[in-house]
C-alpha cells in the first residue's frame, strides 16, 4: 500500500508542489478565495491526473503483474486521495494561522478552519474521492469519465449554492469569498444530533461503498 501511495506522490510531484504548496496559499492570501471550494477543486485534478497517467502508460499491466493484491491497488488510490485532502487542509489551516497572526492589525477577515470545519472538510473530501475514483474504474475512456465527473461536481456545487447562501444570511447578494463558512452551518442545520458524527458516519459509509464498487469493477475488468 505504502509503495503505491509513494508512486502516486511521485506522479503528482510537480502538480502537488505547484498547486498545493504555491497556488493554494496564494489564492487564499491574495484574493481571499473560498478555501474549502478551492481545496475540493485541487483534489479532483490531482486524483484525475493519476488515472490519466495510468491510462496513457498502461502501467496497470505492470502493477497487476507484480506481487500486490488487486484490492490493495484500488484502495491505495482512495488512501492517497484522503492523504491529499488531509495534508492540504492542514497546510491551509497552518497558512491561515500564520496569515491571521501576521495581518491581525490590518483588519482583514480571513477564514481559518476550526475543528468543525476540519471534520466537515475531511468528510466532503471523502465524498468527492468516493465519487471521483469509481468513475475512472467504471468508464474505460479517461476523457469521458472526466467530463462526467466535471458535470457531477458542477451539479453538486450548483445545488449546494442556494442552501449555502441562505444559511450564511446573504439575502440580497452572493459573496463567494465568504461562502465556505456555510458548510458547517449547513451540517448543523440539516443533520440530526450529533451532526458531525452523523456526517462522518455517512461519509465513511459512502467512501466504503465506493471503494467496494471500484474493487469489484477492477477485479472483473480486463487490463
Amino acid at each position: 500500500m505504502i509503495q503505491l501511495i509513494k508512486r502516486d506522490l511521485l506522479l503528482n510531484k510537480w502538480a502537488g508542489l505547484v498547486i498545493v504548496v504555491i497556488l493554494l496559499p496564494l489564492a487564499y492570501i491574495s484574493i481571499n478565495l473560498p478555501i474549502t471550494t478551492l481545496l475540493m477543486l485541487v483534489i479532483i485534478p490531482m486524483v484525475s491526473s493519476l488515472f490519466y497517467a495510468d491510462d496513457k502508460s498502461h502501467s496497470m499491466r505492470s502493477v497487476i503483474a507484480m506481487p500486490v493484491a488487486k484490492a490493495v491497488i484500488v484502495r491505495s488510490r482512495y488512501a492517497y486521495g484522503m492523504l491529499i485532502v488531509i495534508v492540504a487542509m492542514l497546510y491551509q489551516w497552518l497558512i491561515g494561522h500564520v496569515i491571521v497572526h501576521m495581518l491581525e492589525l490590518t483588519g482583514h477577515d480571513y477564514f481559518v478552519y476550526d475543528w468543525k470545519d476540519m471534520t466537515t472538510i475531511v468528510c466532503l473530501g471523502a465524498i468527492v474521492v468516493a465519487i471521483c475514483i469509481p468513475l475512472y474504474h467504471l468508464m474505460s475512456n479517461f476523457y469521458a469519465a472526466t467530463i462526467v465527473l466535471i458535470c457531477i461536481m458542477y451539479v453538486l456545487w450548483f445545488t449546494s449554492l442556494d442552501p449555502l447562501v441562505t444559511v450564511t444570511g446573504m439575502q440580497d447578494h452572493i459573496f463567494f469569498n465568504d461562502i465556505d463558512r456555510g458548510y458547517t452551518l449547513l451540517v448543523e442545520k440539516y443533520l440530526p444530533f450529533p451532526p458531525y458524527l452523523f456526517l462522518a458516519l455517512g461519509a465513511a459509509f459512502l467512501f466504503f461503498l465506493s471503494m467496494k464498487l471500484s474493487e469489484y469493477v477492477f477485479l472483473k475488468r480486463d487490463h
Binding site: Q3, R7, S62, P67, K70
Partner: protein, 292 residues
Amino acid sequence: MNAAELSSITKHRKDFSMENINMTIPEGFVTGLIGPNGSGKTTIIRMMLGLMQPDHGEITLLGTTHKDHRVKQHIGFVHDDLYMYDHFSIKQMKSFIAPFYTHWNEDLFQAYLEAFHLPYRKKIKTFSQGMKMKCSLLFALAHEPEFLIMDEPAAGLDPVFRRELLDLLQEKMLNENQTLFLSTHQTADLDRIADYIVFINEGHIVLQKSMDEIHERFHVVKGKPNMIDADTKELFVGVHVTDTGFTGLFAGDPAIFDVYGSEIIIEKATLEDLMYFVTKQEREASQNDTTY
C-alpha cells in the same frame, strides 16, 4: 512438476474467442508459445499474469492459483512493451518496484544495469524500443524469479542484443534451473533455445510437443510439381505448390518417401515451417467450411 497449468480455459471477447485451452509448462525448461498475429498468445500471457480473467477454467502457477498475488514473488514478467509511467527514470522505477519483492537482489540489479548499458537517471520516455525492452528485462530478472514469462521479448531488439539475450536466458536456465515461457514471432530464436513448443492458432491449441518430438515427427518435403496430386496432397499437413516444385509439411515417419529416392528432398521442419503450413492449412479449411 509443472510451472504452469491452464485447464479448460475459455475466454470470449468482442472480436476474439478462446475455447477450452489446456496447456502445461514444465518446470525447469524453456517453453515457447508460437502462433500468428491475433492467435491468442498475449491473451494467454495476460490471463496468467492476472490482467485478464478467464470466463471459465483454472490457471495454476508454481502449484498455486494465479489469483494468489503472492505467487508473483517468484515470477518475472516481460510484456511486449515497457508499461510504465514515461516520466519515471529507472531510479524511480526501482524505488517503486523493488520493495514489492522479498527476494530483490540489488547487486544483480546493478550488474544487469551495467551490462545492459541503461541510464539510471534518464526518463524512460527518451528510451529507444530496445532500451525499453532491456529495462523490462532488468526488472524481471533482478528479483531472481523461478519462472520467467515473456511476451515478445525480442521485439525491438537489435540482432546483437537479441543474440546476447538468448545466450543470457539459456545460461540462466542451465545455471539456475529457471522456467522460461516466452511468446515470439521469431521462431528461429525458439529453434535455438526451446525445449517445448505450444502452437496456438485462432484461439485454440494446435500442437503442444517437445522440440525433440517436433524434430522427429515433422519434416519438410520438396519435389517436382507433377509429383503432387489430390491423393498425395492428403499425405501432408500443408502443401505449397508453384510452377517449379512443391513444398509440403509432413507429419510422421519420412521413410515412406524413400521409394522416390533423389527425386524428393527431405529436411527437418523448422518452427517457421510448422507455423506457416499449419496456419495456411487451417485458414484454407475454415474458408472451405464457410463456402460449403
